[in-house]
């Protein structure tokens, strides 16, 4: 059997969110060589954009910090940002993966001193803040970014701003001619942890997302509540910066709907309970109404639901709102039927939060090879037959919360070391 052994014991992990980081670190800590690819400029993925986790209301950066410390200690773990997969060839034991690295325009000399950002006035939409704010054209992804390195926005390239940015760097870290690169990786197993994207709220026609800045999504709410977000963590009406007195959360905004996402995204109920907690922490006299079909606080998370439900200023209304309009004063107005009281309501709010669901991020460099089985929604299914060398982890494999994603990723790490055979 000697000649049938894997040609490579390297494990490749695609996606640097909580699942990918976990899979990479856990695998590396058993002694295997691991390469971690992240499409963006920094690790952490969606959880880095979260304010806090349910049910403990603790900060994602806390766990990420520990993971980053682990990464720093692991000589056998290599992190490549701005990287996505162009092609996968071969099979278990010997894959050849061609990797595209997009231009960052900033090289490893960067010390994150920030002189480049100071040098330019050009601003671009902040993807990290889901478009709620602007950021300088030369920017640090966020205060907790790993790697701690700046990025130059492609929009700036070819403009005089780019030259200002380059000129400002004392350390020769800005490379405006960066074309990115492509290289091949030989590996024995691949963990596919490409995560998710929020469902596009514009598709929810009757909720008129574009009609008012005070209609936001749950992921935007996370940024709004974050000290590092567009409002330094103050939850206010985006339209006028005023405090909120009434907030509505609309559950299943896209999920459990055959017109959109037929499955339940699992996290949205708990996410909105968490958002209710954010709002209540900031305002004593605020009213929060949560509109839901079924409140899905599974297993021990029920306790979190009970804790929030005990708050008399948080109301639960079993109703899928039919539509959102905007009244003369510019307030978003919810229309629908309260299924318990039969009341046909028409209620204005200061802020409406659409609890949009998760859809698998299987596009744009994150599309897995066709050999990997998918369900009709695009979630990856662990192969029963197949060679099992490509292992889905985290939300790429189904709608999971953070803890379950970490569980899934840890299991994937084991599958990966099984796939590449015993450490020689």
């Amino acid at each position: 059997m000697a000649n049938q052994g894997p040609t490579s014991q390297t494990i490749l992990v695609v996606g640097g969110g909580i699942a990918g980081v976990t899979a990479a670190v856990e695998a590396a800590e058993t002694g295997y060589d691991v390469i971690l690819l992240e499409r963006g400029p920094a690790l952490g993925g969606r959880v880095a954009q979260l304010n806090r986790y349910f049910p403990k209301l603790c900060h994602p950066t806390c766990g990420l910090e520990i993971n980053f410390q682990r990464i720093r200690k692991l000589k056998n773990l290599r992190v490549v940002t701005m990287a996505s997969v162009a092609d996968v060839k071969g099979d278990k034991g010997n894959y050849t993966v061609s990797v595209n690295v997009a231009a960052r325009y900033v090289n490893a000399n960067c010390t994150a001193c920030g002189a480049c950002a100071e040098a330019t006035d050009m601003e671009v939409d902040s993807a990290f803040n889901y478009g709620l704010s602007k950021t300088k054209a030369a920017y640090l992804p966020h205060e907790h970014a790993f790697p701690m390195r700046y990025v130059v926005a492609p929009e700036a390239i070819g403009t005089p701003e780019a030259d200002k940015i380059k000129a400002a760097c004392k350390y020769d870290a800005v490379n405006l001619d960066d074309q990115g690169e492509t290289f091949d990786v030989a590996c024995g197993a691949i963990v596919w942890a490409t995560g998710w994207e929020p469902y596009d709220p514009v598709k929810l026609e009757s909720y008129n997302y574009n009609l008012s800045p005070d209609i936001i999504t749950n992921v935007q709410m996370e940024r709004l509540a974050n000290h590092d977000g567009p409002t330094e963590g103050r939850i206010v009406r985006p339209s006028n910066g005023e405090p909120v007195r009434t907030v509505a959360m609309i559950q299943c905004a896209g999920s459990r709907d055959h017109n959109h996402l037929p499955y339940c995204s699992r996290i949205c109920c708990l996410g909105s309970l968490k958002h209710a907690a954010y709002v209540r922490e900031q305002y004593a006299d605020v009213q929060v109404d949560i509109y839901y079909i079924d409140l899905r606080a599974h297993d021990k998370l029920e306790a979190f639901y009970q804790r929030v439900a005990a708050d008399p200023q948080v109301n639960f209304i079993k109703s899928k709102p039919a539509s959102v309009s905007v009244d003369g004063d510019g307030n978003p107005v919810l229309h629908g039927e309260d299924t318990i009281t039969r009341e046909l309501y028409e209620r204005p709010y200061d802020l409406v939060v659409l609890a949009t669901g998760m859809k698998p991020a299987a596009s744009n460099g994150y599309a897995p090879p066709m050999s990997v089985e998918r369900d009709e929604y695009g979630f990856l299914v662990p192969s029963l037959e197949g060679d099992g060398g490509i292992i889905p982890a985290g939300v790429a494999a189904g709608p999971l919360d953070v803890s379950m994603s970490v569980q899934s990723a840890t299991a994937a790490a084991l599958k990966a070391i099984q796939a590449v055979g015993q450490k020689s």
């Binding site: 026609e205 009757s206 008129n208 009609l211 539509s323 309009s325 905007v326």
Partner: protein
């Protein structure tokens, strides 16, 4: 679309009454847009939204069955209609028959009673969908010789022109259910200004307005209010029932709510006829509007 394309045209009962001006203006603009309309042979009522109640489900579908059978005899071309209700029923029936073998059997058994049959499939399309997907906005713009500059129009789509088929494959996926844009596009193409109008797919009460206006006047009031607020000179709609309800109930609304609405309600096809430089009466049928669309009449040659 260079040379003209032929369709079997199903005018519907309203063409002989309340919606006569839709029929007239549509027939007028069609050739300009490269559409040849051949009237459906001995067409009958579609059953509207109440036919099934007294007639029963199958008999009601059989009404469409008979029209489809005639269309089949008339040739392979698609059927087109300007009436929302006719479209809804006939298109719906055609799709059902297409997918439901048993239904096709039953319908044909019924048609047999008059020695007719419908054993092929004919596509039933809405005039607006045809203009969007077949003619194209560019063609509409090109055809405009008398742009309606300075006229503010509230584009009121109503319900059945887009629901439930506009987003479906069979319906030609030509626009959305809640926020359709085709009508505003038509208006702008005619050189008029489409005002911001967020009740464009609000319901006028449909047949309930005919039966029990007391229950639905408030719906129509809102449709009028928003148009006036938006500073519209005229409301344009594709739907005969919407046109009639929104136009003819204005006095009743004024009486009940103490308002003073008097805003003309026309069909997009009337706008086009004027914009295409055609005759205001003969082609645009502006004389058939109870509340006169003065600004359009002035524009019209």
């Amino acid at each position: 679309m260079s040379e003209s394309k032929k369709f079997t045209y199903y005018p519907g009962c309203s063409s002989l009454g309340s919606g006569a001006h839709l029929d007239r203006s549509l027939r007028a603009i069609a050739p300009k847009l490269g559409i040849e309309l051949e009237e459906l042979e001995d067409w009958n009522c579609c059953g509207a939204s109440v036919g099934h109640i007294e007639g029963g489900q199958l008999a009601n579908t059989a009404l469409s069955g008979r029209n489809l059978a005639h269309a089949q005899e008339q040739g392979p071309q698609d059927i087109v209609t300007g009436c929302a209700a006719c479209y809804l029923n006939t298109h719906g029936a055609a799709e059902k028959i297409k997918s439901d073998v048993k239904l096709r059997e039953n319908i044909n058994e019924a048609l047999g009673a008059a020695d007719m049959k419908y054993d092929e499939d004919r596509r039933v399309r809405h005039a607006c969908e045809v203009i969007v997907n077949e003619v194209g906005l560019d063609k509409v713009r090109e055809t405009v010789s008398n742009p309606l500059t300075g006229i503010k129009v509230a584009g009121y789509v109503g319900c059945q022109t887009v629901r439930p088929f506009a987003e479906t494959e069979g319906g030609g996926e030509y626009d959305t259910f809640d926020d359709p844009e085709f009508l505003d596009d038509f208006i702008e193409a005619c050189g008029a200004e489409a005002v911001e109008y967020d009740v464009k797919t609000a319901c006028c009460g449909g047949s309930v307005s005919v039966m029990k206006p007391e229950k639905t006047l408030h719906l129509i009031k809102k449709i009028l209010e928003k148009a006036v607020e938006a500073g519209a000179d005229v409301i344009a709609t594709p739907c005969p029932l919407c046109q009639t309800n929104v136009e003819m109930y204005q006095p009743a609304i004024n009486k009940q709510f103490g308002t003073d609405f008097n805003i003309p309600v026309v069909f997009y096809s009337q706008l086009m006829a004027v914009a295409f430089g055609m005759d205001g009466k003969k082609d645009a049928a502006l004389d058939q509007n109870i509340i006169k669309a003065k600004k359009l009449e002035e524009k019209a040659k």
